[in-house]
Structures are given as structure tokens and as C-alpha cells.
Amino acid sequence: MNVRLTKVALAIGAPLLALALAFAITSLVLLAAGDPVGEVWAQIISWPEARNQVNILNNATVLFLSGLAVSIGFRMNLFNIGVDGQYRVAVFAAAAVAGEGWLPGYLNTALAIVCAMLAGAAWAGIAGVLKATRGVSEVIATIMLNFIATALVAYLLAKVAVREEGSNVIGTAPVPEGSRIPGIQMWSDIPTEIYGFIVFAVLVGVAYWFTLNKTRFGFELRATGRSASAAVASGISVRRMTITTMMLSGAVAGLVGLPILFGTSPYNYGSTFQSGLGFAGIAIALLGRNHPVGIALGALLFAFLDEQSNPLQILVGVSPDIVAITQGVIVLTVVVSYELVRRYGARLEQRRVAAQLARESAAAKDPRPTTKEAAR
């Protein structure tokens, strides 16, 4: 077979194998619990309706940004568990600034986006500085910062909040109408629209790919991740790189909540703002192998599973939490299946080399011992 074709097949094979394994394990859980396996899968794998398709895309946009943020850290061997805290601090900052409406129209939006990125970068930067100067593990630091973020945001929210009428939900002042990001209408017969922010998310994905794979900065970041000692000898300041990478990761994390803030009612940050988006990003970055296209596919998959599982309770009487199990298991099976496929690929390659050598030596009328070995 064509060598390049084999490579592509293997690259696609690995995630598919991971999915198949995860589905098998989930099925076992369903079986063990006595739930109707077939019906659950029938619902999940069914083709989503227009409204659900829009929801999936929207949710995927948010998860994609979260996955990107985590994977920036991964590329340098930094485990940024703190995307969750970073996006909450950031979206709060953006909501507070945008709600004030100091600037007109989209200038206000731009200012809020910048504030969100700065806030996320600063929050992640704390962990970066601690790691670079004091050697504190970024895992520990970001976990603690997640807790602090929760408390800090709640505390500040209480200060700036306006109470919504007739409810005890509190939130920041809504983003003025002219500063919201209009949605994209995909189907005229349904009211839900795709986040306009999706365009921005795609641009961030492209920028991520270019920066990490093409630029000197990206090279240095990856080199530091592979070997800090070799990086030092090559003239890379590992400290500065640690802080920069954490801040960059935090800046992207700062974008995670913005599609929601600028794209859905009530256009503010309140006590009911969606949480936990940062943790899904870790799984999605792993699943997508730190590649923007992979992360996009992973985000779509997670969003799809979330959306499709929603009606499970009503339709077949199974808790939608079952897909959280699938999602968690995927993270594990991904690791296993990439390793399996890698080994299989190496074996294929060896066989190819051996066969080629055998041909060559046969042509040279000098049969080498490998011919015999290769045959079995």
C-alpha cells in the first residue's frame, strides 16, 4: 500500500478505535445497570434536528476555545488545570467592563475582549510566576487558583451586581445592545442562531496553528516542552517561556466564556453562568492531540454527546450522566489506542523495510539472511 495512504489511515484509525472502545465500555456499564443499551445508543446516534445542530455548534465553539487553551500548556509540558478559574475571572471582568458601556458599539466589545484576555492571562500568570521563580507545580497552583477564582468572582459580583427583577439571581449589568455579537442564522425557521463568535474562534485556531508550528516562538515553546535542559543550552530562557506560555494559555482561556456573554440572553455574567467548561477542555485537548483540527473535532464530539443525551431521561428513562462516563472513558481509551496504533504502524513499517530489502538483495542475486526472516 502507498506509504502516505497508510499514514493517513492510521491517523484516522486511532481516534476511531478510541471511540469504539469507549462506546463498548459505556455499553457494558449500561448492561450492568440493566438499562436499555440499544435505545440509548439509538437516541444518541440519531441525526440531530436543526435546533440541536445549532446548539451543538455553539457548545462546540466554547469547548474548542477551552481545549485550545489547555493544549497551549500541553505543548510545553505544562498542565494548566486552571482554565476553569481563568475563564470565570475573565468573563466576569469582560462582563463588568462591557456592562458599563464606556465606549460605543463594537469598541466596547473589543475593549471587553481585551480585558478578558488580560484577566485570564494575569490569573494564569500567577501560576506561571510561581512555577518559574519558586518551582511550585503549576498543577497545584492552578487548582488552588480555581478555588480562589470562585470565591473572588462571587465576592466581586456581589459588589457590582444588579438584581434581576422578580428573581434572586444576581448578575452584572447586561451588555448594551449595540455591543452584542449578532448570531448567524442557519435555518430561517428556527429562532436559535449560531454564535457570531465562532468566526473569531476559528481565527484563534488558525493563529494557534501558525504560532506553534511555524514561528520561532512556537519552536522554542515546543523545544522547552521536550527538553528544558536542551532549551537552556540553545539560548531559550525557560523561566520566561514558562510565564509566557501560562499567560498565553490564560489569555485564550479568557475567551472561553465570551461567546455566551455576547451571544445569549441575558448578556451578562451572573451566578448561573455556565461552569465547568475548563475541565472539559483538558479532555478535548487530549483527544485532539493538541492539534487545532483535532481539538475542533473533539469539541464537536463532546458537544454532540451532551446535546444528544439531554432527552435520554424523558425518552428512555436513563440519566444523561451516562455520556459523562463516555466522555471520561474516551480520554483513557485515546491514550491506549494511540499507543496501539503507533506500535502497529511501527510493525508495518518494519515489514515494509524488510520486504524492500529482500527485493533489493534478490535483485542483486545476493540473498541476505533477512529474506528468510522477512518471509515468516
Binding site: T215, R222, R226, A233, G235, S237, E349, E373
Partner: protein, 541 residues
């Protein structure tokens, strides 16, 4: 050499034959062969590393394995030590065929291996290092200590179990590694390039230890690129060429020249000093360089020297006397260094490592795995490493893949790096080929100063000569070189001037055309206060 057997504690009067002198060994009845390898084959993507390897290692002998870089020596040893499985062939140990799938299996079969890169914990004592991971053998207390002392005495290793490893020199660390292997009951010991890091005196000591081991009936398998050493210590030599055993020879019947021809089909190069190309123009000037260790002790003490354009300054010293720190201080990799470092008139002491590299310093690090390579990155990315701010690897902040690949191919051709291509990860190259790639990289972009720590460590004789030629050619064109090497022949053959470093100080200057390795050797160990041919003061003024 043979009559050593007679001095052995259990040697018999007629003990010149290995078989008789070893018949006391319980398993000797199965024959004299300790390890029999038959038809061993191993393929990696793009290469056949081993192909129909056949070797018999006699019990109570030192068996050397030689071959050029990438011939498949390390691969074979890793197979024998159970690190990786062979694709084909059989391994017999003491007459029984074994399947070794992990090092634990190999250890159980009495096989031990000392890797080239030591694996000791610096902050633990010798005893703790030896016992680590083998607590079930003799515990961690008095019994273990007694056992360590017993082994040390039995084989003349001379090791104090309570010394901390960080206080030991390289030679002693190697003996600790050997002790570790013996403690685990090894009767067959594999040493992969053990002498690459040792100075001649230490090599002699090591060989003394090895002869002791052999006298006790142990078998040693020993890889080296230094053919003279191999001839002096081995009882039998197997030559591997392109993955296949081509000959097993008796060291008494071959010369190193013939060995080299067997290995590579070319002749042994000898470094020859050419007409001096030293100019008056000072390229690097170091004044009063000092550095303190974490404990406040001076690891570098008032080091001063000049290197001129077209000059090679050799630094001789037993490893661990400040060479690494000196190099890293000049490269700007160590904080806290004091003193002046001036590169062609410009003080670079305050500059970052990157700025120093951009100013034209090439750097061949002593530890290629830690400082020289991204092992899991493809070769072309390794070409970019350290040159990521300069043409042809990058332009305006963007990495130029195509140019980097093309330049990697140039290095591969010019330095004869044996590899299937520029896309393979650096890890897939043999040690010597990794080294050639690094030297080629650091010699590109026309450096004005090359800082080379052991530039030919682990490189076979043919490639060594090629690297020397490259360095000499660059010197003719004005390159200044700071050369650190444990190989005294290399140091004497290449250098225009040699400084000896001892405990962080430069203790003497030698003229390479007038000094012998022995003289250098004793100056390096601080023994005998060998009279330098020129005084330190003269060259410093």
C-alpha cells in the same frame, strides 16, 4: 597478560587454560561458553540494526565488541540485557536458551549492564545507591553493608560505602555502577563505552578491575571505539559491520590498524598538528572567572586565558574539576559567575545564552542527551535547535522548514551521519551519529568561537578523523576553539596550547608538541607536580 590467571586466588598450576581455571564453577560442566548469541536480528523503521549476529563469549574472559557508529553494538547489548526483544535469533546463557523480555529477566540470568550514562542518585551514599531497588537481597542494613564491602574487597574496587556519590570522581562512579551490577549477582557484565569519559589513569584502574573480575570467573562484554585499549584488555574481539558479525579475532594477532580496516575498511587516522594558524588577534578573553557552588565552595577560581583567532586551546583535566562549569559560564548558562568574558573586543559577560550564540559561539555540549538534542523531535528540528534565530533555519521569526531540511541533509552528507532521512527522531540514531549531527550543526553558520566538550566522544575512528579535519579546516579560516576532552591523544593532536584544570583552577600550561600523555595525566591528577613546559604566568600576561 595470560599469566594473570596464575595469580588468581583459585588458579591452578596449569591454570593458563580458561577451562581448567574455571572448572570450580558449578555450571562449568555445561561448557565454557557463558553467552552464545546465534542469528540475532533486529530491525527498526528504515534500518536493519542487527542481522545474523553470532557471538560466543567464553566464561572468565573479556570480550570486546567493536564496529563503526551505527553498526548495531548498543542494540545488540540492549537485546542481551532484555531492554528490547530481538526479531530473530537465540540467546543462550550457560548453555540454556533464554527468552529475555525485561532487564529483570536478564538480571535473574546473571546478566548486568552498565550504561554509558551513569544512573546514580547524586545525593545518596554509595551504599544507598547500590541497595536501591535490590532491598530484597540483603536488606538495607548491616548485611547489605557487609556485602558491599565484601564485593568491593574481592574485586579490588576500593569503594567506601558511606561516601556520597556527588563527592566521587567519574572513575569511582563507574566502579559504583559495576558494584551495583555485581551486588545483583551478575556473572556476565556488559559495559557500553565505559572508557569514553575516563582519563588514561582511570582507564588503567578500570582495566585492572576488569581483569580481577575475569580472574574470578566472570565474563565481561565491553564496547569501545578506542582500539588500542581494546587490544590491551580484551581476550577476544568481535567486529560488527553494518549489523553483522564479520570476524572474531585474537587481539595478539591483529594491530589496531587491521582492526579499523575490518570495521570500516579504511585506515586509522592520527591527529597531526599542522603548521600553526594562530594569529595575534584575541578572539576570546576570559579574566578572573569565578563561580561558587551551592555550598559556597569555589568551583571555578580566578580562571584567566586568551584564545586567538585560528587557535585551539585544549583544557585537560579529570572530569569534575570545573570543566563543565567553565564551559557553561562562558556560554552564559550559569548564573552567579563573576569575571570578564570578552569576545572579539566585546564584553559578553552580561549577555544571555542566545545573544552569545548569535555573536557566533558554537557549542558542542558534553552531555548530548541532556543539552544537545530533542530526542523525540525529527533531525531537522534538531538542526534548528540553538539556531532558531538565524538563517537558514529562520527568517523574520518564522521557521523555514524547507531550508532547515536541506541544511540537515547537507550536515548528514558532510559529516557522514548514518540515518534513513531527516524526518527520523534523533533518538533513532546511534550515539556516535547523534554526536556527528551535533558537531555538524555547531560548525554551521560560520562560528567565530567553538566551545567543544568531548567533540568526538562515542564517535568511531573513521568519523573521528573526519570531525578533526572539519575543525582544522575551520581553524585555518580563523576559528578559535576551546576544546575540552578526556581523550589526551585528541587534546595533544589538535591543540595549540593545553591548560590543565584541577579543582577549578588552571594549574599549568603545556606545549602539546612537547608533552606526553603521561605527563599530562599526572598534572591532571595533581600528582607529582609535573613541571610544566611553560609557566602559567608567561601565557597569562
Amino acid at each position: 597478560m595470560d599469566d594473570l590467571v596464575v595469580h588468581g586466588p583459585l588458579a591452578r598450576p596449569e591454570g593458563s587454560s580458561l577451562v581448567t581455571s574455571l572448572s570450580r564453577d558449578a555450571s562449568a560442566a555445561t561448557g565454557e561458553v557463558a553467552v552464545r548469541l546465534r542469528g540475532i536480528g533486529k530491525r527498526f523503521p528504515g534500518v536493519i540494526a542487527n542481522d545474523d549476529i553470532n557471538i560466543d563469549v567464553a566464561r572468565g574472559s573479556i570480550h570486546a565488541v567493536v564496529g563503526e557508529n551505527g553498526a548495531g553494538k548498543s542494540t545488540l547489548m540492549k537485546i542481551l540485557y532484555g531492554v528490547q526483544p530481538p526479531d530473530s535469533g537465540t540467546i543462550e546463557v550457560n548453555g540454556t536458551e533464554l527468552a529475555l523480555s525485561t532487564p529483570a529477566d536478564a538480571i535473574k540470568a546473571g546478566i548486568g549492564m552498565v550504561f554509558q550514562h551513569f544512573m546514580l542518585a547524586d545525593n545518596l551514599t554509595v551504599l544507598e545507591n547500590v541497595v536501591l531497588g535490590a532491598e530484597s537481597l540483603h536488606g538495607i542494613g548491616g548485611a547489605a553493608r557487609a556485602k558491599v564491602a565484601e564485593i568491593s574487597a574481592a574485586y579490588g574496587l576500593g569503594i567506601d560505602p558511606d561516601r556520597r556519590v556527588e563527592d566521587l570522581g567519574v572513575g569511582a562512579r563507574q566502579r559504583v555502577e559495576i558494584l551495583k551490577v555485581l551486588y545483583r549477582g551478575a556473572r556476565i557484565i556488559i559495559l557500553d563505552e565505559p572508557t569514553a569519559v575516563l582519563v588514561p589513569q582511570e582507564v588503567d584502574e578500570l582495566f585492572g578491575n576488569l581483569r580481577e573480575l575475569k580472574r574470578e570467573g566472570l565474563s565481561v562484554i565491553f564496547i569501545s571505539h578506542k582500539l588500542d585499549e581494546v587490544l590491551s584488555v580484551a581476550d577476544e574481539i568481535t567486529v560488527i559491520r553494518r549489523g553483522t558479525t564479520v570476524a572474531t579475532v585474537d587481539p595478539r594477532s591483529v594491530t589496531s590498524r587491521q582492526l579499523a580496516e575490518l570495521m570500516v575498511g579504511s585506515e586509522l587516522p592520527t591527529p597531526q598538528t599542522e603548521a600553526s594558524t594562530v594569529t595575534d588577534e584575541v578572539m576570546l578573553s576570559v579574566r578572573g572567572l569565578g563561580l561558587r557552588g551551592p555550598d559556597g565552595r569555589a568551583v571555578l577560581d580566578d580562571i584567566s586565558f586568551d584564545i586567538h583567532r585560528g587557535e585551539i586551546l585544549g583544557i585537560a583535566g579529570v572530569e569534575g574539576n570545573g570543566q563543565s562549569e567553565l564551559v557553561e559560564a562562558v556560554m552564559g548558562m550559569r548564573g552567579g559567575a563573576e569575571g570578564a568574558v570578552v569576545l572579539s573586543g566585546r564584553d559578553i559577560a552580561g549577555l544571555s545564552t542566545r545573544a552569545r550564540r548569535e555573536a557566533g559561539i558554537g557549542y558542542v555540549p558534553e552531555d548530548r542527551h541532556r543539552h544537545g538534542l530533542l530526542l523525540d523531535a525529527p533531525l531537522w528540528e534538531n538542526r534548528v535547535l540553538g539556531h532558531q534565530t538565524r538563517e537558514p533555519s529562520a527568517r523574520r521569526g518564522v521557521i523555514r522548514r524547507r531550508a532547515a531540511r536541506a541544511d540537515t541533509q547537507r550536515i548528514i552528507d558532510a559529516y557522514d551521519v548514518r540515518t534513513p532521512g531527516t524526518e527520523v527522531p534523533a533518538r533513532a540514531l546511534s550515539g556516535g551519529n547523534q554526536q556527528k549531527l551535533i558537531v555538524g550543526r555547531e560548525m554551521s553558520a560560520d562560528p567565530v568561537l567553538l566551545i567543544a566538550s568531548h567533540p568526538t566522544r562515542g564517535v568511531d575512528v573513521g568519523a573521528q578523523g573526519a570531525i578533526w579535519d572539519h575543525i582544522k579546516r575551520a581553524r585555518r579560516e580563523g576559528l578559535a576553539v576551546l576544546l575540552i576532552s578526556a581523550d589526551l591523544d585528541e587534546l595533544i593532536g589538535l591543540s595549540d596550547r593545553i591548560e590543565v584544570v584541577l579543582r577549578g583552577r588552571l594549574v599549568g600550561t603545556f606545549d602539546p608538541s612537547a608533552v606526553t600523555p603521561e605527563e599530562l595525566g599526572s598534572a591532571m591528577t595533581g600528582a607529582g607536580d609535573a613541571a610544566p613546559t611553560t609557566t602559567t604566568e608567561e601565557t597569562r600576561g
